[in-house]
């Protein structure tokens, strides 16, 4: 018997965070992720944990800097335009190597945009929205179950690699209810006693800082960070492959849109077209190596996104063959329907036209 319950993605994330041993939540309301903070505002005080409804997203993410520095697991959640406000501290966290877990339940931009769903923050999350030469690990769930599972994974990876992790959630997943089982945290606890700031009782005092006036030291620090990123790429890259064994047309999609891609794939398989779906789960590091291998057998690669082609660049960089790369996308609003996608793909297959929306 499973303990499946019907939950919104936002609530699943909050519950999974508690299950991961998260002791503090800092946030500021913004649609479509407010339920995370609302849920935790009643749960955290009951458990003697920390909850602050911060005065701004800037304050919230900086509280996370302080909280994680003490070795405590901290969750911060927000949405697109407000995640933009957090980029300064995220850049600090990357340099300070602090394991902040940040949930971005995406809405539409740029600017204020609207609360329509969108996947417009791929670049913000993957290429780093803050200053300097850094990366955050980015996980992309496609279901409410994965919202919960990846939240737990996010805490684990953040602690393991001392690096901020972003859970990049489609707005509709945050708001959509699905059957989900909140599992006991499957990951081992990471010992952080070698770096946390909890008082210099039996050791020399420590400092966590990103300011580094020494040129050699700063170079060394950034090179070390990038060695870590390469290690993460070798060990933690995750992707989902659907009917790819003999596929000569590969659809690429991330997040919940990959479910539409699978439906499209099923349709074409019935027509006898050898199609498959490649879905990156870690958006950073991008599963480049695997897509490169797969691209060697493919004639066509069609990238589908709810934006104007942000992951497309990573797809293009991965493809090593002469396979034709096309893009199907739409910036905001109702997710591209199966039929809409099929219409465009029909054109692409027929005429090889690099179709837009």
């Amino acid at each position: 018997m499973t303990n499946k319950v019907l939950l919104k993605g936002n609530i699943a994330i909050a519950k999974a965070a508690l299950e991961s041993g998260c002791s503090c939540y800092f946030g500021y309301p913004i649609t479509p992720q407010s339920e995370i903070g609302e849920f935790l505002s009643s749960e955290m005080p009951k458990r003697g944990l920390g909850y602050v409804c911060a005065e701004s997203e800037i304050a919230a993410i900086n509280m996370a800097l302080g909280g994680t520095a003490t070795g405590t697991k901290v969750l911060v959640s927000s949405s697109s335009c407000a995640v933009a406000l957090m980029q300064e501290a995220l850049s600090y966290a990357a340099s300070d190597e602090l394991p902040i877990v940040l949930v971005n339940v995406m809405r539409a931009g740029p600017g204020q945009g609207y609360i329509y769903p969108s996947q417009g923050d791929y670049n913000q999350a993957v290429t780093g929205g803050g200053n300097g030469d850094y990366h955050t690990i980015v996980l992309s769930p496609a279901s409410v179950q994965e919202c919960a599972d990846f939240t737990q994974k996010a805490f684990y990876l953040a602690q393991k690699y001392r690096n901020p992790v972003i859970l990049l959630v489609d707005g509709l997943l945050g708001q959509m209810a699905e059957g989900v089982e909140i599992n006991t945290n499957p990951y081992q606890e990471i010992d952080n006693s070698s770096w946390r700031l909890d008082g210099n009782k039996d050791r020399t005092s420590r400092k966590i800082h990103s300011l580094e006036p020494n040129e050699t030291a700063l170079n060394k620090h950034i090179v070390e960070m990038h060695k870590k990123y390469r290690y993460i790429e070798e060990n933690e890259v995750q992707c989902e492959e659907y009917m790819l064994d003999d596929a000569d047309i590969i659809l690429t999609a991330f997040g919940s849109l990959s479910r539409h891609a699978k439906a499209v794939c099923n349709y074409y398989r019935e027509q006898g077209v050898k199609m498959g779906v490649f879905r990156p789960i870690t958006l950073y590091p991008f599963p480049k190596k695997r897509l490169s291998e797969l691209s060697l057998q493919a004639k066509q690669i069609i990238d589908i996104e709810m934006n104007m082609g942000q992951m497309l660049k990573d797809v293009q960089l991965s493809v090593l063959s002469n396979a034709q790369i096309s893009f199907v996308g739409k910036p905001v609003g109702s997710w591209l329907k199966k039929e809409e996608i099929i219409n465009i793909i029909d054109n692409i297959i027929k005429g090889g036209v690099n179709a837009g929306i």
Binding site: G50, G66, G67, T70, G199, S210, L211
Partner: protein
Amino acid sequence: MQVFNVPKSIKKDCTFTFCAGCDHGVAIKLVAQVIDELNIQDRTLAIASSGCSVLLYNVLDVDCIESPHGRGCAVATGAKRAFSANGKDNIVFTYQGDGDFASIGLAESMHSALRGEKITAICINNTNYGMTGGQMGPTSVLNQVTTTSPMGRNEQYHGFPIKTAEQIALCDGTCFSARVALYDYKNIINAKSAIKKAFEYQIKGLGFSFVEILSSCPTNWKLSPQDSHTRIKEELSKIYPVKVFKEK
């Protein structure tokens, strides 16, 4: 009898890298003495901020994290809440300049005070942006000449300076707010007792405690260390009165 030696909470053999005559060194010494006297060195977390005040972490022998510019009180809030969530009674304090605390970080500072966060904030007010070369700051007084108010701060053109300790005292979550100065021995001793009180208030868990320290910036004021102290005594302390504004 030894009546003075380098505080235990100052790192061995470190050299202060502030300009000659800068009061930052005195302020850090007082903080270190207070940490020693309260016997909290092994459970204190210092939040250093951007500007000259960041150099605190090179000299103070406690755990330390550097905060983004202005966000000291938010970082301190997160750390204190995290300690508390884990049943720890660690002491958290910020060491910020006036630009950090009262300009770019005013929202974080004031809301931490309003929430009554059980942290201590120390704000070095030297009426300009020191590290960047003496630009007009939120506390630059009227008529003060800086590199960005070359004709003097004009109330019509530049607006008015902020009286930080008074503002923080108005917040209901504040349990202690004082302004002190360091221009002579008597004031230094008073400053130390205010800093000590601020830490004691945190230890008692009574709320947000705050000390604004009127400090000299001889390099950017283009005055000798002696004349800088005279300026604080005769000019600044008339505009920024040295007193305790709130004590719960």
